[in-house]
C-alpha cells in the first residue's frame, strides 16, 4: 500500500508537470504583437449614443475618433475637426479634416457629422441631455459644419470630445437599423474585430487611418476582468500588458514587483458625499459647513486612499485649468464646526448616509462617522450595493446624504450643472446653488479656457459658500503596465487612449 500511494503521488506530480509544460505560450517578444489590456467592466454598448458607463470610453476611443480631442489636462485640441471658430456665443463652426474615411470606406464629411448629430438627439439616444443647447447642425460645405445654439453653452466643444463627438459611419448605422451596439463602425485608429460578452473585445489597426504617422499597436485585446485583485495578479503573471484601475491598496506591492510599472496620475474623479440641501437634517448651510469643517481630509487621504490622490476643496482638482481659486479651501477645524452646529441649534444632529457597499467606500464611511462623532454628530451608515444606493438616493431620496463618487466630465460646466443645477439629475434638492447660475453664464460666453476661468472661479466659490456637497478626495488614476509598454499617457479624466503606445 505504501508503494501504491507513493506511485500515485509520483503519477500526479508527473501529470501536473506535463500539463504545466504543454501549451507553453506566454507572451512572445514580437514588438508587433497584440496589446492586452485588462478592463474593469464590459462595454455597456459599443454604440457611443447607447452606452451608459464611464468605463466604456477606453473601449470606444480606439474604434471612434472624436470631432474634438482633449489634451492630458482636458483642454480642447483638434480631433477629426482640425479647427473651430465661434462667430458668436451661440454658434460653433467646425472645419473637418479632409480625406478621413470610416472603417467601411465611407467618407467622413459634413453630412456624416450632421447625421451623427441628429442620431444623438434622436430616439434611443442616452446623450440627448449633452446636446440640449444645440438647435441644429448644418453642413455649410463638404468639410464645414455649423452648430446653432438655443443659448450660449461653451461646454459644447468638449461635449464633442465625449460620446457626442464619436463619429459613426452613417451607412453602417442605417444598415444596422440605427443600433451599432454590436457592429461598431467608426473612424478611429483601430477597427472592430470581435466582442465576446463579458470576456474580450478585440480591435485591429485600421490601415487607412488619417493619422497614419502615429504609433499604433497592431491589435488590442480588451480583457474584461472585474475583480481588482485578479487584474493585478493577471498583470504580474504576464497575462496582461496594461491593467486599468489598480486599487490604491494594491499599488505599493505592484510598484515593488519586477517587470511592471505603475502610472499614477491625478484625475477629476472625486470621492464625495452628496447632500440633499433641501432635507430637514442638512438643509441649513451652517450645518453642512460644520460637517465639512469636521472632516480631516489629510488623514482620510492617507488612511483610506494610501496617499494616492489629493485633498478635494471643490468639485474640480487643482492643477486643472478650471481649478477652484485659492479662496476655496476645505479647512479642518472641529472647534469651529461645533460652534456652527450650536449656532444652528443642531448640536445633537443625527442623520443617515447611504454608502456604496464595497470595502474601500465603507472604510471611508467609518472614518467620517468617527470624525463627525468627534463634534457630536451621529451618522448612521447605510451600506448598499451601488445600483440600489443610486436608486434609493437619487430617485427615492431616502436619505439626506450619499457617499459615492463623481467620475467627472470633459467640461467643467457639465459637472457643475449635473451636480448643482435645479434640473441636474444628481442634485436631489431641485434647487440651484445660490449664485451658481449667474456664474456659469459668465463661463459660457467663449470657448477659450482663459476667458471662462473667471466664471468657474465664481461657480466654485458659490458651491463652497453654500457647501452644496462635501468634497473629500480626488483619487488618482492608477494603471499597471508591463515593462514592454512604452508611450502610455493617461489624462485627467482617467480614460486613456492607446494612440502612441508601443510594445518594446
Amino acid at each position: 500500500m505504501t508503494f501504491r500511494s507513493r506511485a500515485g503521488a509520483v503519477a500526479a506530480a508527473l501529470l501536473l508537470s506535463v500539463v504545466a509544460a504543454c501549451g507553453g505560450g506566454g507572451s512572445s517578444d514580437d514588438a508587433d504583437r497584440t496589446l492586452r489590456v485588462a478592463a474593469v467592466s464590459d462595454a455597456s454598448s459599443l454604440d457611443p449614443i447607447r452606452g451608459n458607463a464611464g468605463t466604456d470610453h477606453i473601449l470606444l476611443y480606439p474604434i471612434y475618433d472624436t470631432l474634438i480631442s482633449y489634451t492630458e489636462g482636458l483642454e480642447a485640441e483638434p480631433g477629426l475637426a482640425e479647427s473651430w471658430e465661434q462667430p458668436s456665443p451661440t454658434e460653433l463652426v467646425l472645419k473637418l479634416r479632409e480625406g478621413v474615411t470610416f472603417h467601411d470606406g465611407e467618407p467622413l464629411n459634413a453630412e456624416a457629422v450632421v447625421y451623427n448629430f441628429e442620431r444623438a438627439v434622436g430616439e434611443g439616444s442616452n446623450i440627448q441631455a449633452d446636446l440640449a443647447a444645440v438647435e441644429s447642425a448644418t453642413a455649410v460645405d463638404e468639410y464645414t459644419v455649423s452648430y446653432k445654439l438655443k443659448y450660449a453653452d461653451a461646454s459644447l466643444l468638449l461635449v464633442l470630445a465625449d460620446r457626442a463627438g464619436m463619429m459613426v459611419s452613417p451607412k453602417a448605422a442605417e444598415a444596422a437599423g440605427g443600433d451599432l451596439s454590436t457592429k461598431p463602425v467608426g473612424a478611429g485608429g483601430w477597427e472592430f474585430v470581435e466582442w465576446k460578452r463579458g470576456a474580450v473585445i478585440k480591435v485591429k489597426r485600421y490601415a487607412d487611418y488619417w493619422d497614419s504617422e502615429s504609433d499604433r499597436v497592431s491589435a488590442i485585446d480588451f480583457n474584461i476582468i472585474p475583480d481588482p485583485k485578479t487584474r493585478v495578479t493577471s498583470l504580474r503573471s504576464g497575462q496582461q500588458d496594461v491593467v486599468m484601475d489598480v486599487s490604491p491598496s494594491d499599488a505599493e506591492s505592484l510598484e515593488k514587483a519586477d517587470g511592471v510599472e505603475l502610472s499614477d496620475t491625478p484625475r477629476v474623479n472625486i470621492n464625495q458625499v452628496y447632500v440633499n440641501t433641501a432635507s430637514e437634517e442638512l438643509g441649513d448651510p451652517r450645518v453642512r459647513k460644520a460637517l465639512s469643517l469636521a472632516i480631516d481630509r489629510e488623514a482620510l487621504l492617507k488612511s483610506a486612499y494610501f496617499g494616492r490622490g489629493s485633498v478635494a476643496h471643490g468639485a474640480l482638482p487643482n492643477d486643472y485649468w478650471a481649478e477652484p481659486p485659492a479662496s476655496v479651501k476645505s479647512e479642518f477645524d472641529p472647534d469651529q464646526a461645533k460652534k456652527l452646529l450650536a449656532d444652528a441649534g443642531k448640536s445633537d444632529l443625527t442623520f443617515d448616509m447611504i454608502a456604496n457597499a464595497d470595502s474601500a467606500t465603507i472604510r471611508v464611511a467609518e472614518i467620517l462617522k468617527q470624525q463627525w462623532a468627534d463634534v457630536g454628530v451621529t451618522m448612521n451608515i447605510r451600506p448598499l450595493e451601488i445600483v440600489q444606493g443610486t436608486s434609493d438616493y437619487f430617485n427615492d431620496r431616502k436619505t439626506p446624504a450619499y457617499l459615492s463618487q463623481w467620475t467627472g466630465r470633459p467640461d467643467p460646466a457639465m459637472t457643475y450643472r449635473l451636480l448643482f443645477s435645479a434640473d441636474g439629475y444628481f442634485n436631489t434638492s431641485d434647487k440651484w446653488t445660490p449664485g451658481l447660475e449667474e456664474a456659469l453664464k459668465k463661463s459660457d460666453a467663449s470657448t477659450e479656457p482663459s476667458e471662462r476661468k473667471a466664471g468657474f472661479d465664481e461657480a466654485a466659490e458659490a458651491v463652497f459658500k453654500d457647501t452644496s456637497f462635501l468634497p473629500l478626495v480626488f483619487g488618482n488614476s492608477i494603471v499597471g503596465l508591463s515593462d514592454d509598454v512604452e508611450g502610455f499617457a493617461n489624462n485627467l479624466l482617467g480614460k486613456p487612449k492607446f494612440k502612441g503606445v508601443t510594445l518594446g
Binding site: 501536473l16 460578452r197 485578479t230
Partner: protein
C-alpha cells in the same frame, strides 16, 4: 428497457421541479432592491431617460403575465433578450456555458481523484495516526473557502513558480489547449474542497463495508486484501459515493461563481454576477434555468446509476 422507463419517469418528475425553481427565482429577483432602469441608464440618468427605459423594458405588465410569457418561450429554447444589451440571452448563455461546463468537469475529476483513493486508504487504517491525519485534513479542506484557496494557488503556482498562467485572458474558442492549461488551477481550487467531502463520505461507507460479515468471510477464505477492498467493499460503498458525487455537481456550479471571479474567467458564474449587478432579470433567470437543468440531469444520472450499481433497487 427498464432503464429507459426509469429515465422517462425521472424526466417527467423533473418538470414540476424545474417550473417551481424558475417561478421562485422569477419572484425572488423582483425582490432585489434597485431599479433596472437606473442600472441601464447608468451615468446618463435623467428623468426622461429613466422613463423611456422603463417603457422599453415593458416592466409595467402584470408579473404573472411576464412569467408565463417567459416560461412558454423558455421551453422552446428562447430565453428572451437581455435588458442591458438587447441581445439574445440563449446566444449569451451558450457562448459562456462551455467554459463553466469544462471547469466543473475538471473540478469533479479532481474531487474524485483526490477523494476516492484517500477515503479508501483512510478506511483501511481506521483510528491510526494516518487516518486521523487524513480526516483532519479533509475537515480543513471542507472548511477552506475556495476563493482563498484559489488566491493561494495563484500566488504559489502562477506568480512564484510560473507553472501555470495567471488569471485572465482565457478563451476556450480561440485557444483550447491554452484554456485547458489555464483551467488547472481553478479546477483545483474548486475541486479540492469537494475531494475532501468525498473522502469523508467514502471513508465512512468503506468502514461500514469492511466490518460486514461477508468481508470477514472473504478474509477467512483467503482473498487478497486488494481484491476485498477494491472489488467487494468498494462496490458495496458505491451508492453513497454516487450520491455525494451527484451532490458535488450542484456545489461545483455554485462555487464556479466565486472561482470564476478570482481567476478572471468568463463563464456563466461571472455572467450571473454581472447580470445581478445590472438587474438584468432575463439573464439571471436564464442562468438559474440552465443551472437547474444541469442539476436535474445530474440527479437523473445518479438515479439511473443506483439501479445499475445495485440490482436490488428496482
Amino acid at each position: 428497457m427498464r432503464i429507459l422507463r426509469v429515465v422517462g419517469t425521472c424526466l417527467v418528475a423533473a418538470i414540476p421541479t424545474l417550473i417551481l425553481a424558475t417561478l421562485i427565482v422569477f419572484m425572488l429577483q423582483r425582490l432585489i432592491p434597485g431599479d433596472p432602469a437606473v442600472a441601464i441608464a447608468g451615468e446618463y440618468a435623467t428623468p426622461e431617460n429613466l422613463e423611456r427605459i422603463r417603457e422599453e423594458l415593458g416592466l409595467n405588465q402584470p408579473l404573472i403575465m411576464q412569467y408565463l410569457t417567459w416560461i412558454g418561450n423558455a421551453f422552446t429554447g428562447d430565453l428572451g433578450t437581455s435588458f442591458q444589451t438587447g441581445e439574445s440571452i440563449t446566444a449569451l448563455v451558450m457562448q459562456r456555458l462551455p467554459l463553466t461546463a469544462l471547469l466543473t468537469l475538471m473540478a469533479l475529476l479532481v474531487a474524485i481523484l483526490v477523494g476516492l483513493p484517500t477515503g479508501v486508504i483512510a478506511a483501511q487504517k481506521v483510528d491510526t495516526a494516518f487516518d486521523r491525519f487524513l480526516t483532519t485534513g479533509a475537515t480543513f479542506g471542507i472548511a477552506i473557502p475556495n476563493f482563498w484557496l484559489g488566491m493561494m494557488l495563484i500566488i504559489v503556482f502562477a506568480l512564484n513558480l510560473g507553472w501555470f498562467p495567471g488569471p485572465g485572458g482565457v478563451s476556450l474558442q480561440d485557444d483550447p489547449a491554452g484554456a485547458l492549461r489555464a483551467l488547472v488551477l481553478p479546477a483545483l481550487a474548486l475541486g479540492l474542497v469537494g475531494g475532501a467531502e468525498i473522502c469523508r463520505q467514502v471513508r465512512s461507507a468503506m468502514v461500514e463495508s469492511l466490518s460486514t460479515d461477508y468481508v470477514r468471510t472473504h478474509r477467512a477464505k483467503g482473498l487478497s486484501n486488494r481484491s476485498i477492498v477494491w472489488k467487494h467493499a468498494l462496490k458495496n460503498s458505491s451508492l453513497p459515493f454516487a450520491t455525494i458525487v451527484g451532490l458535488q455537481v450542484s456545489r461545483l456550479i455554485g462555487g464556479a461563481v466565486v472561482v470564476e471571479a478570482v481567476f478572471g474567467l468568463s463563464g456563466i458564474g461571472s455572467l450571473a454576477v454581472e447580470a445581478t449587478n445590472q438587474r438584468d432579470y432575463g439573464v439571471i433567470q436564464a442562468v438559474v434555468f440552465v443551472a437547474a437543468v444541469i442539476v436535474l440531469l445530474t440527479n437523473l444520472i445518479v438515479d439511473v446509476s443506483y439501479r445499475l450499481l445495485d440490482p436490488r433497487i428496482r
